[in-house]
Symmetry: C4
Subunit: 265 residues, 4 copies
Amino acid sequence: MKTCLFRIIQPSDGYKPSYIFDWTILALIFASVLSVFAETFALSDPALAVFDRIEIITSIVFSVEYALRLWTADLLHPSLPPWKARLRYVFSGLAIVDLVAILPFWVPVLFPGQLLGLRAVRLVRILRILKLNRYMEAIAVIGGVFRRKARELAASCIFIFFLMLFSSLLMYHAEHDVQPDKFTNAFAGLWWAVATLTTVGYGDIYPITAFGRFLGAVTALLGVGLVAIPTGILSAGFVEHFSRSSKPPAPPRRCPHCGKELPRG
Amino acid sequence: MKTCLFRIIQPSDGYKPSYIFDWTILALIFASVLSVFAETFALSDPALAVFDRIEIITSIVFSVEYALRLWTADLLHPSLPPWKARLRYVFSGLAIVDLVAILPFWVPVLFPGQLLGLRAVRLVRILRILKLNRYMEAIAVIGGVFRRKARELAASCIFIFFLMLFSSLLMYHAEHDVQPDKFTNAFAGLWWAVATLTTVGYGDIYPITAFGRFLGAVTALLGVGLVAIPTGILSAGFVEHFSRSSKPPAPPRRCPHCGKELPRG
Amino acid sequence: MKTCLFRIIQPSDGYKPSYIFDWTILALIFASVLSVFAETFALSDPALAVFDRIEIITSIVFSVEYALRLWTADLLHPSLPPWKARLRYVFSGLAIVDLVAILPFWVPVLFPGQLLGLRAVRLVRILRILKLNRYMEAIAVIGGVFRRKARELAASCIFIFFLMLFSSLLMYHAEHDVQPDKFTNAFAGLWWAVATLTTVGYGDIYPITAFGRFLGAVTALLGVGLVAIPTGILSAGFVEHFSRSSKPPAPPRRCPHCGKELPRG
Amino acid sequence: MKTCLFRIIQPSDGYKPSYIFDWTILALIFASVLSVFAETFALSDPALAVFDRIEIITSIVFSVEYALRLWTADLLHPSLPPWKARLRYVFSGLAIVDLVAILPFWVPVLFPGQLLGLRAVRLVRILRILKLNRYMEAIAVIGGVFRRKARELAASCIFIFFLMLFSSLLMYHAEHDVQPDKFTNAFAGLWWAVATLTTVGYGDIYPITAFGRFLGAVTALLGVGLVAIPTGILSAGFVEHFSRSSKPPAPPRRCPHCGKELPRG
């Protein structure tokens, strides 16, 4: 029975009950996310009661699921002793997501006191969609590219970070005297720099002096260029990955004429 | 005569009447799109009458064209029995576009009652430009890249989707008390999150508290990074496609032991 | 003397007078562009007179240069008869730029009457920087990539164009009743759609109804995705170009042992 | 002792004291940057005194570090005579960063007079994070790609630059009469063009006439396309770099005529 349960809760690859289980969990995730959003409306009491019930039901289902996964973790790593297998499971990426998703329900139950802000944390449940079998490989691809190009990405982020701090401080000095209520301190300059470098540009804060506008123009143009660097690195990382993986390591070939093994290439 | 008609209405590849037919249809599409836009102006009655006539003429021409294509569909799939060929045509991508483009004209005629909102649907006619022979291959290339990289793209969209929902809820909690008229509920937060992550930034809604701005800055920076992932995946997909299709056939390899030619593979 | 002049006005590759000529022209271009911008300030008469003189001088220099290039065009295409060589020169890309750059000066002189709006056209002189020897190859690379990927780029632009027209019309219908002064007609919707799809987002026009915001969010997200397609195509085009050109067609190799020609690969 | 000191201040690769030294410097950099930002708040005198002390301490530490690096520079280039080694060090990229970072402290000390604006320059210290051993290679990769593709990037920047100047002047002429307080002169048009082409779009300045909006839409669409060119070039540059460095050595080729191994090349 344990093996059967294990097979059901693992990402489905053709097994019908496992498929049904996956979609039930997905439906519960969407119900739960919807209720988190709906609760922010000024609702009548009966409506709120419905959403409260949804939260209780989904939280209990997800808790039971977590317990089952913990119980069957020894089947996931058959080579390890059970307690080690369970420990490894507890600290795996998506198991932490699972735990974080159910904690906001149990913390106020176990330790009374209002922690409503924690409700947003329930949204991590969305990430569980990635647990579906079909996304497993894609996540590994994206994660692998980020890992392999980590240093180049970090170096380009340091440049962006420097440009952000530098331009924000210069802009603060350039505009503080003219717009003391907008550029109140260097952190207001930082807010401007983020809005400019990411090209969001809300328009709540912007330079009005000639020098400030010159600075702003240079920052915006450099920003577009700097953002192109990590994009280029990521593109190259994906190209590298796909070009590699599209040529799987073939078994050694043999010459059909003399039967000897051929060198690779 | 049927074969001749068939050749005319098929995408032209050198045949003169077919070329003229293509451009007539294109001209009618532009006239029709222009009239859809022009009708939204507060116009005098004679002007509206002109646009009404344009709509009637183009709709009838497109309807006749659809009928002709349906009639000659058996020449498109000569290996199938006529009724099967026609059915396959009806459910092909661009035939659905054709049908959708003429329906808004016939629905109110057949079932009286105002359905003016449907007029916008006539704009799908624009997509028919893609039917020109020259775009056939390009569409196949773009579609193929999306299909091959569907899982990686979907996985990165789930991350963006999660960041969108998560940041919108946190932002709602951070700003609701200070700007209750802007961040009225979590959906206002979602509107903010979309404007920020896509870097549109209209400026109708933005954080003003210190924590809200910190959240907003983190969201904007993460957003730029997350948007770079699908761009990189698409780039790599196109590189993969073009490098495959342009790779010249390698010369035959030879066995280093006996010198004879090796079979490909 | 004609050959000497020809060598001077051609893009320099080491010849000193040609180098000096290039930089003189560049300096005049910058003086001319600066004067076009400076004239828009409310200036005193003496200042305006200076800028007028700059325009007269640069225009005459550029006219003389154009005449010289036309005169020496037969040395550029020595295989053609002189009149054919000159005609070919007149219709080459950068010669048209040259002509357009001097016309705004001569048109009012030859045909009196105010054509001040034409002054902006003088800015095409900036494009002449590309005539420098060092950019010749880069321009060819960029142009070549655009030409080779023209159909894929055009097809993705048609999608963007369709999304733009479609969302603008829907948005007009969604918001016209609530904001009749903003979404006055479908062209106002088009202005909104361009600002949203290019992620500029000035904030002068945006949806405020729930359905309008939903439409706007979908448009913005689709827009980001659609813009990633041409970026990816261009990336792949450049990758293809550089990977090809970095392996120049080598001369046929020969086996050092037996001296016979080897197959490519 | 000099060799020992040299080993400590060089980027760490496993040596413990060098590792500790690196992290101490990093901590001081962050303290210094934080104090530059904190000083812009309207603070009480005791708080300002703390930040003043932080600046004095970090500046002295960085000065001592610079002196030590200068002293041990002959060990960095052992093949050069000491004075040449020191001169080469002084003019190397990150040594200039070091010097610029300490100058704002010493200039007012040596030449009294207020130069507070120079304080922002202290932020270049952030760039010293790149000195860490782990980023050395990444910086070389990014720098190399920019150097190899410099001409293509410059050529595409000239196009962007031209579009920027051209559209700003046209927009000035189109909108000056209707919004004389916004589009006061062509430089205001330039500010609009930068905000539009980088898609920042603050919303402080935008066209309102029909022709102005048409111009603005064309500019925004062309701008998105033009920005995609350098992104594509950078992507291709990174692809080229990574594919070169990761390509495994091919197996030796053999002559198809005699079967003997061929030399590489």
